[in-house]
Symmetry: C3
Subunit: 334 residues, 3 copies
């Protein structure tokens, strides 16, 4: 594995192997396995867990991290090929990426999509420029298409609660929000759960379809892992028998709904709020959410503060999976 | 001591003990006493000394620190219980605090008060949420009620200049400003000086009373330490015989003066500027201020640049007291 | 060498010596030569390479760095002597600098000029306040007058490509931009190249003269090193025989052109874009630029993406020269 930016970099056996090692290292910490290593962290978008958990993983492993906020103390970056750069972005990623690759042993990048064209976002242009130009391993801290470290942390949480995720019924349910959000997190839960062999049910209102390329990829993983993927607009049907409920807001399918119409389409589904009744429709489930979560807009207080919630464990597990991934990228011969 | 967020966490003997150790370690540095420890630093407000001195204390002790600026690269945080989170704050402290507590060995937090209700500020809701939810030790980098590391650094500076602070006459004088400032720093000087046995004189214009709960707490410490606390509007009387002059701007008592009237009430007392004549009314005093200071608004150039000023030593002493406190919180069995 | 803020702190033999050591350490890394050392980095202006390369130099040497962004999480700083501080800058550098000097073993500072008066900028008031007040070694991360670490990185790049820089013909050519930029980078290339013995040709449109004090200093270095410095408005003549082309945008000479007229004066010279024809007018040259570069405004894509470009190596070399300079400042007896 040269880079880790998509679940495809691991594949089904790789997902299994990372989770096994993360569970082991959560019990028996690995010591200074990253000594002398320097991670360059490049943020095009805000963060809390991602920033803290990546930096903690490097520091606790005996390494170090540089944190760079694009446009905030650091020059804004242009990414369009051939641009006449006479606007507010004084530096191009064609320079910035290889330069940072000269200072650091690996680069971590967060770069959200523009949310105007699902196909453009799924093609992940900025993330792929990092892969092409960094000269060192690249790890995703969420890009337009996926947030793969989140997906693996989700699976680690399921493994901790259910030991075996093979044929485990889990529901990813759409949730309301005040604005369209990226699809990277639902994509990654879907891909990771399919790779982990879960019986994945995706449920959302009409017009909020996930990207067809990601759905097809998840079907491939399910075939290989012995899991399954189904999609339905009938939330109740999806929840029946589910042992885990994963709530997440995301924006409409851009093939069906224009950016101008998106807010109204989202607002029409306020009743998709995930509350205690939703959990009751599943089978003694655990509750997951990647955070940040808008309380009482996406998810009710009673769910987040209730006994089913595993959201804090899930956030902690970001640290544990990332420690394994950073180890594999930075010590390829270990 | 599980947390250190208020002078009450130390009490009179604890204040003495921290100062003794800080003086000792200022001469004989403790080496890598924080090796393997990671401090999560959460700023809701700006900083210079606090950020640099806490980070320096962790790094020089062989540990590490994560610095997170809320709302600046990090999601803005909601703190109201039961809020419907449809505004500009996408994450709640109910999630953010315990998550950060999973990544770090201790959390440091800076959270100023809203300055609208002195009682609400003295109750310190955000700081107390950190204590309740972090799952790891919490240390204050200034909250609505107190700035206790500043108070201890102030006392360390007095100890260096006068050896013994028992019955030392010291004056805390109000100073003008362009706007209402929090009362945390004057509260902490008052509490720390009372705990250190000083003869504390507080002087300010009418309507600028400190919080009655803090005053009562300071009286309790003075009784235990053999010190005293008096409050007067007569600055000249307060200064007579004082060996230290501590200047600080703070806003009006919200029980007496509305937020709308506060600027005019402050502007009416421009003559409280601390200049050479003020120092001359004391008895060969040292001059203290927590910094930042607005030159020629709060304090005249002649005072800050004069031989009585100890403000740089005082800032350095932040490092020395914090190193001791971090040691006690992070190595409870040492 | 107590501080390193200007090429004058090294002089001609010092420039040679730093480059020799940087070349050696680029091949044989020095290990934990900065163990236990803490660098305080103070930014009044944005950065990418400078921030990352200085922090990397400290961390890879076993030391640590504090990064402080003035006005961004850190109080804004006043620098005017005698100011009545009733504006938006709550802290004076008279306090901030010595305080930071108490926490760190050295201070690095970036402080651009105001671009209103070339003589005021060449006098470097903020940088010189750091030298006077820090109490610890100061290193420049670019100030109003010079960007000396950039100049040394430029020379290291020439040394790598040509082995010997003595009498090497190099052209510094002005380039267009969307606004006036500081002269620190062209000043530092000029001074460094003169000290390294190059045959330096400076070319720019009329009205864009570099500072006469810097030109005179460069002539002095050229006399000592055996190099030369010439200035011409005839770019073609400058380029003839040049083995290196250094492109850089800078603002007009403030003695000749007012700030109001500057944008129009710059816009009148769009034809100074550095494109493939410019390189073809030199003699199989390498191409240098300090970055960030506005593609197709300053320099054409074909140049930056072409085989002559050394801009990524040049940026990497920032790390190598800074590592040597930090070593000399922080280990003066080594």
């Amino acid at each position: 594995m040269k880079h880790f930016t998509h679940i495809a970099d691991l594949g089904v056996p790789g997902v299994q192997s990372v989770l096994d090692q993360a569970l082991h290292w959560k019990r028996y910490a690995p010591g200074a396995h990253l000594a002398g290593k320097l991670l360059g962290m490049v943020f095009f978008n805000p963060s809390l867990r991602t920033r803290a958990s990546f930096e903690a993983a490097m520091l606790r492993g005996g390494g170090n991290a540089l944190v760079l906020d694009v446009g905030n103390g650091v020059w804004k970056l242009e990414d369009r090929t051939g641009a006449i750069m006479d606007g507010d972005r004084p530096e191009h990623i064609k320079e910035a990426i290889p330069v940072l690759g000269r200072y650091a042993d690996a680069l971590a990048v967060r770069t959200f999509g523009a949310l105007l064209d699902d196909d453009a976002d799924a093609a992940d242009p900025v993330l792929n420029a990092f892969r092409a130009l960094a000269g060192v391993p690249v790890i995703s801290m969420e890009s337009a298409r996926e947030h793969p470290c989140q997906g693996l942390a989700d699976m680690l949480t399921l493994r901790e609660n259910f030991e075996d995720t093979h044929r485990l019924p889990v529901t990813l349910t759409w949730a309301p929000h005040i604005k369209p959000l990226p699809k990277a997190v639902p994509h990654s839960f879907l891909l990771s759960a399919a790779a982990a062999g879960c019986e994945v049910r995706v449920t959302h209102p009409p017009g909020f379809e996930l990207h067809p390329g990601v759905l097809a990829e998840a079907q491939d993983y399910a075939r290989e892992s012995g899991g399954s993927v189904t999609v339905t607009h009938d939330r109740k049907a999806a929840l029946a028998g589910s042992r885990a409920v994963y709530a997440k807001a995301w924006g409409p399918d851009t093939h069906q709904v224009s950016a101008a119409d998106a807010p109204a389409r989202i607002a029409a589904h306020e009743d998709w709020l995930v509350d205690a009744a939703v959990l009751a429709a599943a089978q003694d489930p655990v509750f997951l959410h990647c955070l940040p979560v808008r309380r009482n807009v996406e998810v009710a207080d009673a769910v987040l503060d209730g006994k089913a919630s595993r959201v804090i464990d899930e956030a902690e597990n970001r640290f544990h999976v990332q420690r394994v991934l950073l180890h594999r990228l930075l010590n390829p011969d270990a």
